[in-house]
Amino acid sequence: MSALGFAVVAMIILGSALFVVRAQNLIHAVLWLGVTLLGTAALYAQLNAPFLAGVQVLTYVGGVVTLMIFGVMVTRRHEGIAAEARSAGADRAFVFASALFVVLALVTWRNPPVITATAPIATSADLARALLERYLIAFEVLSLLLLAAIVGAIVLVRRKDPEPVQTPAGEPAALRAHASEVTP
């Protein structure tokens, strides 16, 4: 079961991830990301981390994906037109990404990790204890970071200058020209 389950989950994760980076429709890409994250949650569950799986579903799928969708919605200029995700330089990116994978796989294959269990697998209770004892300071610092991030995000998006700065006329054309200039 374990091997089969892992294979299925891995297929889901990687397959949906490919859709995330290749999807032409932005909304689709976000939704595919949701699938990836759900798959990851399933993987966590297989790795004996049910708490993580729950958090993953709640924050990521519930929070981040929603946020992303809002982001896409807000920044679309023309209602009704499918949000299109433009991409460039697919060939060289593919080459280097594959290289990255091959190299990492090579490393894993040449030096197979040998790890022996030193402790029993942590339960949710263990996690709670660790968070509030050993990692308390890091936990609090993290909460501070979140606060700062929220405040920062609000400050950033607060409207100060209602006028968008003057962009060159015929902007999409300009953009295309620009893109063709920098990407051979």
């Binding site: 460039a88 330089g89 060289r92 990116a93 280097f96 990404a97 290289a99 990255l100 190299v103 990492l104 090579l106 490393v107 040449r110 920098v182």
Partner: protein
């Protein structure tokens, strides 16, 4: 007062005067008071010198006092001070007398100058006298060099006194440059002497080789200062200065310094026969060459200028012949009669407002005292027996007997004839004959002009009789004997005068004057130097300037340019696109991982 104190007073009195006039500029700007202050300073200097000379006649010994001037490792590297002996004391008096006469003469001569210029003129005169005194009392070659250069400076300033005139400005810098060029020889000589003996004494013991080098280098400076061929070209141009300045320059100071140097450094030159041989020839050539050019000059001052060149040639030849005393003696008598001649010429110019011999004529009817002065000076210069110039010139010629295969002797005899001939020409053209138009209203200047003339007439005539005494002072041998040379010299002098009367008395032209005039106008030496200056110095300079601006600095600019251009091309790597940077991160990770794997 001790002799040393007196000598210091004699040297520094004019310096104090100059300083006073420089600092108290209202005094200088007034004009006339400056003249009186200067005269006072010169008089004090002369009085101290005379007192010293009188004491010496009374049997006072040589004196020498020095103080450290430049130090090196706690010891004196160079000293300054005074040396009083048979060479410096007579020279000090000669310089003092001539300078005082010239300054007195200038009071009237320069009377029309604006007060400021008048004051400046006298300040420079005081400085001039100081500089020359520094040369005269110098106890070593370094101080002599210092004074020598200061003399050059003051000559420069005085020749360029009418600085508004471009020709005067040109003449001034030309004089300075030519002498400065030659002075490099002096400096090198000093360095060679210093390296080999560790001192600047002219008596320092040294080898013949060193002595030859040093004396040859010093002689280069003498050629420049004493206007010998081929560095004489500045002297005729120096006539751009006021006439009294020429008198001072030509008689007792500037040009005399060169001859004085050789007399002073005689111990050094005595060890260098090779240098003396060169001196002999250069002196002889200059004497004849300059005498020939003097024959065709239209400007009365230029005649006298070339005659100075020629007479200095005599002195240098005598020094080259190894008879320092003959050169010194001629220097002394020449100082008097040349000063007299120049001042008389100044008086003439003052009267007719022109330098041109063609504007003069019959002046003896209007200017009796000046005429007398000029006649005495001319006869003395021509070497007519009985006059001062005869004795010294005779001594020079005697010294040359049998030297250098006899040729220099013949040349100088010829020059003696030419001297009498051209002086006769000037006398006849300026003072005899019909009264010219410009001379119509000529009249003698005041007492301050005629006074110096009268005073200078005496030694111009009589100083020749002091030869024996002077020889005793410098411990040289001197006898007046009736031999071939004195007779020939006298004959040449008289013949020259007679020939002048014969040729110019009827308004004729000297034979060969055409060629000489051509030669003078062509002025080959002058042009050679001008070309050397323009092509050699300025040409090389502009090449150097171009190289510095466009090659050396260009290379520096190129460095900066490459930095900027290199930066500009490196900037293309920065696309500013996030995905490119991300890709680079990936590439970096791949490379790093590969390095880890393949190790």
């Amino acid at each position: 007062m001790s002799p040393i104190t007196l000598a210091v007073v004699a040297t520094l009195a004019p310096a104090a005067t100059a300083l006073l006039l420089l600092v108290l500029f209202p005094l200088r700007h007034r004009g006339m008071p400056a003249a009186w202050v200067t005269l006072l300073g010169s008089a004090i200097s002369l009085a101290a010198s005379c007192k010293l000379l009188v004491d010496r006649i009374g049997g006072a010994a040589d004196e020498r006092a020095v103080v450290p001037w430049i130090e090196e490792r706690g010891r004196a590297m160079a000293e300054i001070g005074v040396q009083l002996d048979g060479v410096s004391l007579p020279m000090l008096v000669i310089v003092g007398v001539v300078a005082l006469c010239v300054q007195l003469f200038s009071v009237a001569y320069m009377h029309d100058e604006p007060p400021r210029a008048f004051g400046r003129y006298f300040t420079l005169h005081a400085l001039f006298l100081f500089s020359m005194n520094v040369v005269v009392v110098a106890p070593n070659l370094l101080q002599l060099f210092a004074g020598w250069e200061l003399v050059g400076l003051t000559s420069y300033l005085l020749i360029g006194f009418y600085f508004a005139k471009p020709s005067a400005a040109q003449a001034a810098v030309k004089a300075f440059w030519m002498t400065k060029l030659a002075d490099m020889g002096f400096l090198f000589g000093l360095l060679v002497l210093y390296v080999n003996t560790g001192s600047f004494e002219w008596t320092a013991p040294t080898s013949t080789v060193v002595a030859t080098w040093v004396s040859a280098l010093l002689f280069v400076a003498v050629v420049g200062k004493s206007a010998q061929f081929p560095l004489h070209i500045w002297l005729p141009d120096a006539m751009e200065g006021p006439t009294p300045v020429s008198a001072l320059l030509h008689a007792a100071t500037m040009v005399a310094a060169g001859v004085f140097l050789v007399v002073r450094a005689d111990p050094l030159f005595a060890q260098a026969p090779a240098t003396r041989e060169v001196m002999l020839w250069i002196g002889a050539v200059t004497a004849v060459f300059a005498a020939g050019l003097a024959l065709v000059q239209r400007d009365i001052k230029k005649v006298l200028a070339f005659s100075t060149c020629s007479q200095l040639g005599y002195m240098v030849a005598a020094l080259g012949a190894g008879n320092a005393f003959a050169g010194f003696f001629h220097l002394g008598t020449h100082a008097f009669f040349k000063a007299l001649l120049f001042l008389a010429a100044g008086s003439v110019i003052h009267a007719v407002h022109s330098n041109d011999l063609g504007d003069m004529g019959g002046l003896r009817k209007r200017l009796p005292i000046t005429t007398a002065a000029f006649v005495i000076g001319a006869l003395s210069l021509a070497g007519v027996p009985g006059f001062a110039g005869f004795f010294s010139k005779d001594l020079v010629l005697t010294a040359l007997e049998g030297r250098g295969g006899g040729a220099p002797w013949v040349m100088l005899l010829a020059a003696a004839f030419l001297t009498a001939f051209y002086m006769g020409r000037v006398l006849i053209k300026a003072f005899w004959g019909e009264l010219s138009q410009k001379a119509e209203h000529a009249h003698e200047g005041g007492l301050s002009m005629t006074g110096p003339l009268v005073v200078l007439m005496i030694p111009s005539f009589a100083s020749g009789f002091l030869g024996g005494w002077l020889a005793g002072q410098v411990k040289a041998e001197y006898h007046l004997h009736l031999g071939l040379t004195p007779v020939l010299a006298s004959v040449m002098a008289v013949a020259g005068l007679v020939a002048a009367v014969v040729v110019f008395g009827r308004g004729g032209q000297a034979p060969g004057a055409r060629i000489l005039e051509k030669l003078d106008a062509w002025s080959l030496v002058d042009r050679t130097w001008a070309t050397a200056y323009r092509l050699g110095l300025l040409g090389v300079a502009s090449i150097a300037g171009w190289i510095d601006r466009y090659v050396i600095d260009g290379l520096m600019n190129l460095t900066g340019w490459s930095a900027i251009e290199g930066g500009a091309s490196a900037r293309r790597l920065q696309t500013g696109l996030v995905r490119d940077y991300a890709l680079l991160v990936v590439v970096g990770v791949v490379v790093l991982a590969l390095m880890g794997v393949l190790r």
